[in-house]
């Protein structure tokens, strides 16, 4: 039975149960993982079919999720959901689920080879790199993971909405511990199976370990400029953007961007998009987690805040249309407004090393950043530790720094962007270039 038929079947049963509205979010995922930690090898693959159901009676709304789709059980699941809905207080702002609309773009790139990946070939490639690196005299411990996933999403609701979407992705991650307490990490993420790049993170981490064997502490703390390498930019942006652009957080008065619509919040040169239309972005989909078509939009254009991000609930609260940003983490979670894929537009055609050459005194923040989850998203404060950064003077890398703590404020950072490169890289939350910024503190 196709996912669409299953979804519509559940909607029908829900209506018969007496729900005023019902929405079914179905995910079928097939994923494979190979992980190697020294001599320990884990190889796994699996299939999962999960469903998240939201339903309402009057102004009462409830949610339930189940990991298996046995239609025989669906009656008792809907019965359980009914008791949950009835136990909820009325939500006067609830005005139903999404209305059907057609997609505005074709969605992201699909790589069919990921649905039945050549695991033997991948394992052999890993082995070659792994064994070469493990023999290096400065390497102490090697860890590598690769995950491949193919996901289909079907959404149906009692307003006759029915959407279908699909994405494939591959993510590789390496961590190498070296002598002199060195530690390097790298990752590669893409919609398609780029085996060479996915395995290549091992070599990159090994090279980093070698470079950092004689890393030095900063001689003294200072305030200055930095080039943040493309892959690390999300550590300075993502959590803050996710939180502060959410219309729900604006409405609840807990975002720093309250009252800032059409106001200047960043340097003139800064344009930041939410762009799910980029077919290479990791999580691009035609529809959001409620079945609303997604589209490209400017969050900040030439320094001016252009829009907040809405899901259906927060949009109807203001008599507006959803911006197609009702994002779900997975079928176990309910939608909440969030960007789909952040993009920072370039202001130059430079890459990270060209930006570094413009730095008089500062730090090149190249990798291994810890602590971004501890950031104070409301006040913009961050304190991050990087194990892969270089001290820069007169446009040259002077020495690798043995652990540097970088502190600053996201809202200041928006006004301290000097130049944006065009060396974009696909990351988990969007597509980011390297950037040159001022006003950070280094300890």
């Amino acid at each position: 039975m196709s996912l669409e038929i299953v979804a519509e079947e559940i909607v029908k049963k829900g209506e018969a149960k007496g729900f005023d509205e019902i929405e079914v979010y179905l995910v079928r995922e097939r994923s494979s993982l190979i992980q190697i930690i020294e001599s320990l090898v884990t190889a796994k693959t699996g299939k999962e079919l999960g469903v998240g159901i939201r339903a309402s009676i009057g102004k009462k709304v409830g949610f339930i999720s189940v990991s298996t789709l046995d239609l025989k059980r669906i009656d008792s699941i809907l019965e359980h959901l009914k008791s949950i809905v009835l136990s909820r207080p009325e939500d006067k702002d609830f005005n139903g689920f999404a209305d059907p609309k057609s997609a505005k773009h074709l969605g992201g790139l699909i790589d069919e080879s990921i649905s039945d990946p050549p695991l033997d070939e991948i394992a052999k490639e890993i082995k070659v790199s792994f064994e070469t690196i493990r023999k290096l005299d400065y390497v102490v411990k090697v860890e590598y993971h690769i995950t491949l996933a193919d996901m289909e999403v079907v959404i149906a609701n009692s307003r006759n909405l029915l959407t279908k979407d699909r994405m494939t992705y591959a993510i590789a991650f390496s961590e190498i511990k070296g002598k002199n307490e060195t530690l390097a990490m790298d990752y590669h993420a893409s919609r398609n199976l780029e085996i060479e790049k996915l395995i290549g993170v091992l070599n990159k981490s090994a090279e980093t370990v070698k470079e950092f064997l004689d890393a030095k502490k900063l001689t003294e703390p200072f305030e200055g400029a930095a080039v943040i390498a493309n892959k690390e930019v999300p550590n300075f942006f993502q959590n803050f953007i996710d939180y502060n652009f959410s219309a729900l957080n604006i409405q609840e008065n807990r975002s720093k961007f309250v009252g800032k619509l059409n106001e200047k919040v960043a340097e003139d040169r800064v344009t930041i998009l939410d762009n799910p239309e980029n077919p290479n972005a990791l999580l691009s989909l035609k529809y959001d987690g409620e079945g609303v078509p997604t589209y490209k939009k400017a969050l900040i254009e030439n320094g001016v805040l252009k829009t907040y991000l809405y899901d259906v609930y927060s949009a109807r609260r203001e008599g507006k249309e959803s911006t197609g940003n009702g994002v779900r983490m997975n079928y176990k979670s309910q939608p909440t407004p969030s960007p789909l894929s952040v993009e920072i537009l370039p202001t130059s055609n430079k890459n990270a090393s060209e930006l570094v050459s413009e730095l008089d005194k500062g730090v090149f923040i190249k990798g291994f950043i810890m602590g971004s989850h501890m950031s104070d998203v409301i006040n913009g404060v961050f304190s991050l530790t990087s194990l892969e950064s270089y001290y820069v003077e007169n446009g040259e890398l002077k020495y690798p720094i043995k652990s540097v703590t970088i502190t600053g404020n996201f809202f200041d950072l928006l006004n301290n962007i000097i130049e944006i490169g065009n060396d974009t890289e696909i990351t988990f939350g969007g597509v980011y270039p390297s950037i040159l910024v001022k006003g950070l503190k280094f300890i």
Partner: protein, 468 residues
């Protein structure tokens, strides 16, 4: 015979048919309910059920894992084929043929919880009422903010392997956690209290929501009034929760067989060595002791036993799965655990706690005379060489062997091996506690419910900072 047994046996037969040397298969069903309140208002209600089957196959010397949440014969057959397929892929990555170590089945001999008020038999409205008793109490006490989590996870596990071993048990955990924030004259005080256990809702007859709430509220007021004193080396009394955090985070992980077998742990090759004082013992058990998490069997079907990691100062054991035990030619300890059917079991802790001493609680304080009393944990970190920093949920100054006044934001730092040497006494009474919120994280498998605990521990000296 249930449907699950039929599917599991089918999976084992298929595995044999496809040439697996050994296979183990698990059915898991878990139902969860989490309610989050802000003051009296329900802010989120998360209800779900998670059902699936997973299989481990050993094929031509390599190991593969696969799972499915679709429980029909075709999906099961495909799962087995997939497991064989990934094992084949893995075989090119392994140096030596691997297999699980021999295991002669034994029975679990620990405590078995009797569930009087199973959450499945109690209405949602009654659970909300239980949580609200403590909320009302806190609001009456004048808290500035109060967040509550009620949670439950329960279900069924069935395990079969190709050696004919069968296990079936019903994991359960329920819990209530209150977070209080109080304000006075521009000062802020925070504290929380967690009561969770592998029990039914009768847990809240024994530990009333009011008393749990009061601990959080009083702790927050104590924190608000807390004094600041010079940071430095002080004698320490660690309460069971604080001691348990150190036992699990800074020591337990170092004894996990996969870390030891890959020589990643500083405890590699040190069995039998004296690491701590005669008063230092650390145990690891599937027995919940009192408020811990019940794990009668691990996810390789091994009956759990109580293991001494440290006994009277000596390093006695590592924690093993059948797989890591084989790598080191040791005995499996029943520590192979998977967070759910999507993952193969890896070496994980169960309930980790310092062993009892021969003192009363009062004597522990008397031995310390003057110093700091740390109660509960407020987060922290530890690294792979045993250096830790842990914040206390609540802390007090001890003078003349008695608690005198609260302290503000106490953090204890140290190295676990020094900490073990500095233990000078322990109470007879031991408390082990699990939590419905959080748990242990490892290799993307988080949060796994575990228990932490110990006696009241007297420590000669520890590096303590007060006031943040």
């Amino acid at each position: 015979m249930s449907d699950e047994f039929h599917l599991l046996e089918r999976a084992l037969n298929k595995a044999e048919e496809y040439g697996a040397d050994f296979a183990e298969v698990r059915f898991e069903e878990e139902n969860r309910l989490y309610i989050r309140f802000e003051r009296e208002e329900i802010k989120s209600l998360d209800v779900g059920s998670d059902v699936g089957i997973g299989i481990v196959v050993y094929y031509k010397g390599a190991r593969g894992y696969s799972y499915t949440s679709k429980l029909d014969e075709n999906s099961i057959d495909e799962m087995v084929r997939d497991a064989i397929k990934v094992a084949k892929a893995a075989s090119s990555l392994i140096k030596e043929k691997i297999e699980p170590i021999e295991y002669k089945p034994e029975e679990y001999k620990g405590f078995i919880p009797t569930i009087k008020k199973h959450p499945k038999d109690v209405d949602l409205s009654e659970k909300i009422e239980i949580a609200k008793i403590g909320i009302k109490h806190a609001l009456d006490r004048g808290v500035a903010s109060f967040v509550t989590y009620y949670g439950e996870r329960w279900g069924r596990k069935v395990f079969l392997n190709s050696e004919g071993l069968k296990r079936e048990w019903n994991p359960i955990i329920v819990g209530l956690v209150y977070y209080a924030v109080v304000r006075r004259n521009g000062n802020v005080g925070r504290s929380y209290e967690n009561v969770s256990a592998s029990r039914g809702l009768e847990l809240f007859d024994e530990r009333s929501p009011e008393s749990i709430s009061e601990k959080a509220v009083k702790g927050a007021f104590d924190n608000l009034e807390g004094k600041v004193t010079k940071s430095g080396e002080y004698p320490l009394v660690a309460n069971p929760d604080f001691a348990g955090l150190i036992a699990h985070e800074s020591f337990g992980h170092l004894t996990e067989g996969d870390y030891v077998a890959t020589k990643s742990s500083i405890l590699y090759g040190r069995l039998g060595e004296k690491l701590g004082s005669d008063e230092a013992s650390i145990l690891e058990s599937g027995d919940p002791v009192n408020y811990g998490y019940w794990v009668p069997y691990d996810d390789e079907g091994v009956a759990t036993k109580t293991v001494y990691l440290v006994e009277k100062g000596y390093l006695k054991n590592y924690l093993h799965s059948r797989f890591t035990a084989k790598m080191m030619n040791m005995t499996p300890t029943g520590n192979a655990r998977a967070i759910n059917y999507r993952f193969p079991p890896i070496v994980r802790m169960r309930n980790t706690y310092f062993g009892p001493g021969d003192m009363t609680k009062e004597e522990v304080f008397e031995v310390v005379k003057r110093g700091v009393y740390a109660e509960g944990s407020m987060g922290g970190q530890t690294n792979d060489i045993g250096v830790f920093t842990f914040g206390a949920n609540r802390a007090y100054w001890i003078e003349d062997g008695e608690i005198k006044y609260p302290l503000k934001a106490v953090t204890v730092r140290g190295n676990i091996l020094d900490f073990l040497k500095n233990i000078i006494g322990a109470s007879k009474e031991v408390y082990v506690r699990t939590s419905i919120r959080g748990g242990c994280g490892k290799a993307m498998q988080a949060p796994l419910p575990v228990g932490l605990g110990g006696p009241y521990l007297a420590v000669k000296k520890a590096l303590i900072s007060v006031g943040g």
